[in-house]
């Protein structure tokens, strides 16, 4: 079911928001746990809050009131966002059982738009990972192939939509964590422009990169979600006061005449041939509806991963210093002094990948290395961003792969962090530049694994990106 189908069905009383919520909870109960398919996408259910909201929507419908855009739509929330009444763990033992004292702005906005929030979704610990295998609460399985990863770090958010446990969900994307799992699970995942969506209530990983965005089953629903989420928030100093566009209305505009750039650097060695063929087919489809498809160059692409892993880990090492056993979360027992309490708490509470990134980030920021690593990476970030700004003078959107391979097997890359980081090769540059991006399903491999295609747009030009995404989606039918 799409967002509009659910809203219409509730408005014309063929169903109720309560019935829709119960159906989704029933599916979660049957399939998400170890007695079902053991997908493990949800970490907590917020039944009481969801059913109270559903009752409010049903009362509105009974009175014949105009229903808000997400009326009765079941939505799941990645567990790095705060939602009162449910624990916020960030996939970490250090926050096990933590009950946040306020709602994230995006949580408030979704409920104000009528969404029924079903619960909190599994993710890599502190959103650090590309496979969801770094969750302290156990991995998520890909609903399309249960022996494979759903991608990460928003693996639960992608899997829950793919398994029809919810109609849309929220994820976060720091280096690819929405777009890559969307591709692996065969759903739509959108990275809005940096500053477009509030991050108040997001547990921070890397503040100059972290973004909140939606998952949905189709491009139109993603546009509807963005129209609810976008906008200035006085509680987030990095949110933009630019007026959001009419993202849903823009979808009516035809794409003929749009200039589509295809960056040569995204089609090199290491790209799975079946993915390459699927993207080329999608590009043929865009030509067929009147787009001008042309080659472009983003010459610094190969430096995006090393740049990202310096900047993201440096910022993470600072952000994660707040987890010290004093104000919230875990505190190590039986420790006699304050400094030992800090160290013991953090050793017990953080998983291996989080420690690895804190160490790397601390190293990169430490005396004698700051210029060589952190400053150098910030300079290369400028070059990567200039690549995009120059390209967008010639084209209106960029189309590329989003993952080098389809979903891989659970455990396939857990022993080699560099191999795991290379998963992000097509996603991190857009993250560093702050531009918007979306992953749209575009067929599947012979083995039946979903393939995603990425559309990247100018800063604050989600409208054009969504139109191209919709044209690709329409070409799949």
């Amino acid at each position: 079911m799409t967002i509009e189908q659910i809203r219409a069905a509730i408005a014309n009383k063929t169903t109720t928001a309560t019935a829709v919520a119960e159906q989704h909870y029933a599916r979660i109960a049957a399939e998400d746990g170890p007695d079902g398919k053991n997908i493990h996408s949800f970490l907590a259910l917020s039944r009481e809050r969801a059913l109270a909201q559903a009752a409010r929507i049903d009362a509105l419908a009974a009175q014949g009131e105009e229903l808000p855009p997400l009326a009765g739509v079941p939505v799941g929330i990645k567990d790095v966002l705060t939602m009162t009444g449910s624990p916020a763990t960030a996939g970490s033992k250090i926050l096990e059982g933590y009950m946040p004292p306020y709602d994230a702005t995006v949580v408030q906005k979704l409920e104000a738009a009528g969404a029924v929030l079903l619960g909190k979704l599994n993710c890599d610990e502190f959103a650090m990972g590309s496979s969801n295998e770094n969750s302290a609460y156990g991995p998520v399985r890909n609903p399309r192939a249960l022996d494979r990863v759903p991608g990460g770090s928003s693996g639960g958010s992608a899997a829950a939509v793919a398994a029809e446990f919810c109609v849309a969900s929220l994820g976060t994307d720091t280096g690819g964590s929405i777009r890559q799992p969307a591709a692996f699970c065969g759903v739509v995942g959108m990275l809005p422009t940096y500053g477009r969506v509030s991050r108040y209530g997001l547990i921070a990983f890397a503040s100059s990169l972290d973004r909140v965005g939606p998952f949905a089953t189709n491009v139109r629903d993603a546009a509807t979600m963005l129209s609810v989420l976008a906008g200035w928030d006085p509680m987030d100093a990095t949110s933009s006061d630019r007026e959001p566009a009419d993202y849903v209305g823009a979808l009516q505009n035809p794409v003929d005449g749009l200039r589509i750039g295809v960056p040569a650097e995204y089609f090199g060695e290491g790209l799975d041939p079946e993915i390459r063929a699927a993207i080329e087919k999608a590009l043929d489809g865009l030509r067929g509806v009147g787009c001008e498809v042309k080659p472009i160059s983003l010459p610094h692409t190969r430096y995006a991963i090393p740049t990202y892993y310096v900047i993201a880990t440096a910022e993470a090492s600072a952000n994660l210093s707040r987890f010290d056993g004093v104000r919230f979360g875990l505190r190590a027992e039986g420790v006699k002094t304050l400094s030992a309490m800090y160290r013991e708490t953090r050793d017990q509470g953080f998983g291996a990948e989080v420690k690895r990134r804190i160490l790397l980030g601390t190293y990169a920021l430490s005396a004698g290395y700051y210029d060589a690593y952190y400053r150098k990476a910030q300079q290369v970030r400028t070059l990567l961003t200039r690549d995009f700004l120059a390209a967008f003078e010639q084209v209106d959107a960029i189309v590329s792969p989003i993952t080098p391979t389809p979903a891989f097997h659970l455990g396939a890359k857990t022993d080699d962090p560099v191999q795991m980081y290379l998963e992000d090769i097509y996603s991190v540059a857009a993250s560093l530049a702050g531009i918007c991006g979306i992953s749209v399903p575009c067929g599947q491999t012979r083995a039946g694994l979903p393939i995603g295609v990425q559309v990247m747009g100018r800063h604050f030009d989600e409208q054009t990106m969504l139109r191209v995404g919709l044209a690709i989606e329409a070409g799949q039918a």
Binding site: V335, L338, A340, L360, A372, Y373, T382, G434
Partner: protein, 108 residues
């Protein structure tokens, strides 16, 4: 950032100390191996001459006048309710309801 700047066990322990991480002895060799592998990959950045290239800390710097995106925009300085103290203190590992309690600070 030379390729030969291999991270030694001592450096791993020193960085862990800076980061307030109390690594177990068995964690150290794996972290050392991984840090060296990742730093080896990062060394590619040395291929680029970045003389005179400005450092980019925030996206807004690249977009001209967007102060918000550089984290420089401030909201109006008005009095507003803060979070409920009870709700905040309820999440603390140890508290008397007004203060956070911690183990002994002076270590002697």
């Amino acid at each position: 950032m030379a390729e030969d700047a291999a991270v030694t066990t001592e450096v791993v322990l020193r960085v862990a100390e800076l980061a307030n991480l109390d690594l177990k002895a068995e964690e150290v060799p794996r972290m050392q191996r991984d840090l060296n592998a990742i730093l080896g990959h990062i060394a590619q950045l040395n291929e680029l001459d970045t003389t005179g290239v400005p450092a980019m800390a925030q996206v807004g710097q690249m977009l001209g006048a967007e102060a918000e995106l550089t984290g420089e925009a401030l909201r109006a300085d008005t009095v507003r309710p803060s979070l409920d103290r009870k709700a905040v203190m309820a999440a603390a590992p140890e508290t008397d309801g007004r203060f956070f309690k911690v183990p002994k600070v002076i270590e002697r």
